[in-house]
Symmetry: C2
Amino acid sequence: MAAHENTMNDKNRENPMRDRSIRGAIAFVTAALLGGCAATTSMQADAPLTIARQGSFFVGGHDVQSDTLSVLPAYAPSGTISVEQMYVHYQVPVSPDLLSLVFIHGCCLTGKTWESTPDGRMGWDEFFVRKGHPVYVIDQVARGRSAVDPSVINAAKAGKTPPTQLPPVFSAGHESAWAIFRFGPEYPKVFPGMQFPLEAQAEFWRQMVADWSATLPTPNPTVPALSELARTLKSTVLISHSQSGIYPFQVAALNRDGVAGLVSIEPAACPAADGDLKPYVGLPILVLWGDYVDLAPRWAPRLKACREFVRAANVAGGKAELVLLGDVGMPGHSHMLMQDRESLKIADWLASWIATHVTR
Amino acid sequence: MAAHENTMNDKNRENPMRDRSIRGAIAFVTAALLGGCAATTSMQADAPLTIARQGSFFVGGHDVQSDTLSVLPAYAPSGTISVEQMYVHYQVPVSPDLLSLVFIHGCCLTGKTWESTPDGRMGWDEFFVRKGHPVYVIDQVARGRSAVDPSVINAAKAGKTPPTQLPPVFSAGHESAWAIFRFGPEYPKVFPGMQFPLEAQAEFWRQMVADWSATLPTPNPTVPALSELARTLKSTVLISHSQSGIYPFQVAALNRDGVAGLVSIEPAACPAADGDLKPYVGLPILVLWGDYVDLAPRWAPRLKACREFVRAANVAGGKAELVLLGDVGMPGHSHMLMQDRESLKIADWLASWIATHVTR
């Protein structure tokens, strides 16, 4: 690969503008081409992968009519578009002996969260297929490959509605995201022993996208779409992260059909401990956390509230568990624990938890 | 499956609001779960798929500072975000004897274009991996999993910039898209013998997303990102569609390194016949079209201009070819020919064309 990199560097000299991003591309494509999946578990992670089938489809969605789809002459302003559908990509192993899993990303991210890590290691999407689980990875409604409606932008641009009615679409900047993702207490300080692969930080920032969730109703339309998906799959474990942490609970409250268990990783919110806990009776629930939570003003109260929910749910007949990874021998994990250095060790632990706690 | 559908229908009665989208979900997930890939070619399309590796990464991108990332209290308005990166998903077969292929979607769509068809059959992404090609599927810059910058929206919402400066982001409505995709001369008329699976039309509409391409510089930043990717892959065939039809030509004009051949499917534009043709000398080029082109006022002049380009490129020492699928025994194809009923027959023909025309 050295000769290849030299060639690339020669090109960089001709076109220095692209130098930085080429270095990034080399790092990740090199990992991809050379198959950089360290076998950190009992599984032969760099062996070929055989699957029965793969593909993608949408769940949910409805049609809306608009007269401000476009301000460009090449595209008509009036017409019908489909919105609030949820993109789903799936892979089914040859012997799908285990429960299907649905992976739901968090704020300002897409289904990419569960694919290759920023430093080019295997993502959880592939790991759990190799374990024998059918895996479904979604893009939340109005994110990634799930469409947004640009009508309000064009209406404001054309002067038909005041700009104050523009959608509150936001992006999280690197500096504030740093603390939210708990790489350290504040940008660019790092928590001691923190396990996120910071040498690939730029690749992680490229995963982040603008977030339209504040423009959507409550519950987020992703929730009924997940309910449909669960019912179609008949028996599945919903695995959410951060902003989407509450979604599996909302799905269970909507309809328990098809929901075999819930895993909520570092949720922005758990259900209220003094709320209606009947939807969770008898349902295996895991609320999973990384490290440094009590050092983060944004996260410490959320952990506390989740502890209270788990306690109350169990009093009400639930089968809920809250686990800090440090308490099971894996300290140092950030909010993006599915991408941390020990991501596959955590995945292996989670696979065991599911195997021992959730039945069809 | 009948019992399963009955169960779903019972649920629908309880919640009729979701009836329509559940029917859609059933159709596509049923196809997925039962493995609905008809073996339309010599390949055993419903046999298990074995690959050496898969994953995803980004190419390109740069950081920008903004003071209007957010108008929400939970997210800071000021900070740095990464924009103009290009998402790439890849799968590499166990014996990658053949050239790598990069698939580039068109207007108002994402990389989903090349995945499962609307009626649940195998997508070209999987077909070409099964053929032995390493396959790279991208989301164009500012589309799908490749981020957009929401700063201008928030600046207008906060009154810092006039709404006339809002980005010209647009969606194509179903009614106008119908003629653009040449399902028929106008919505909802259908061309006789047209091969798009109209019974799954609603699933196709769900693939469409808002398009920010008019907000981007020329050439689209996807073009230098594709050039980086091609150079990293060393030898690849760039396969574009519609709006992105011109991109492979622009990549070749930027830098021929890594570009083994170009396939432009129904391009919105070919290079000018009286322009600089040196970038294309000796390069295998295929410009591929479906049917009904001369019946479509939007497309007929584009076909004519591409014919003129191909003629001129060959006079200048090129190896360009323009093919209408009807002329090689496959009539009736729409603009979305990679999703038409004979999509895998077309793919098989294309695989043969690449094998006989393109060398590393």
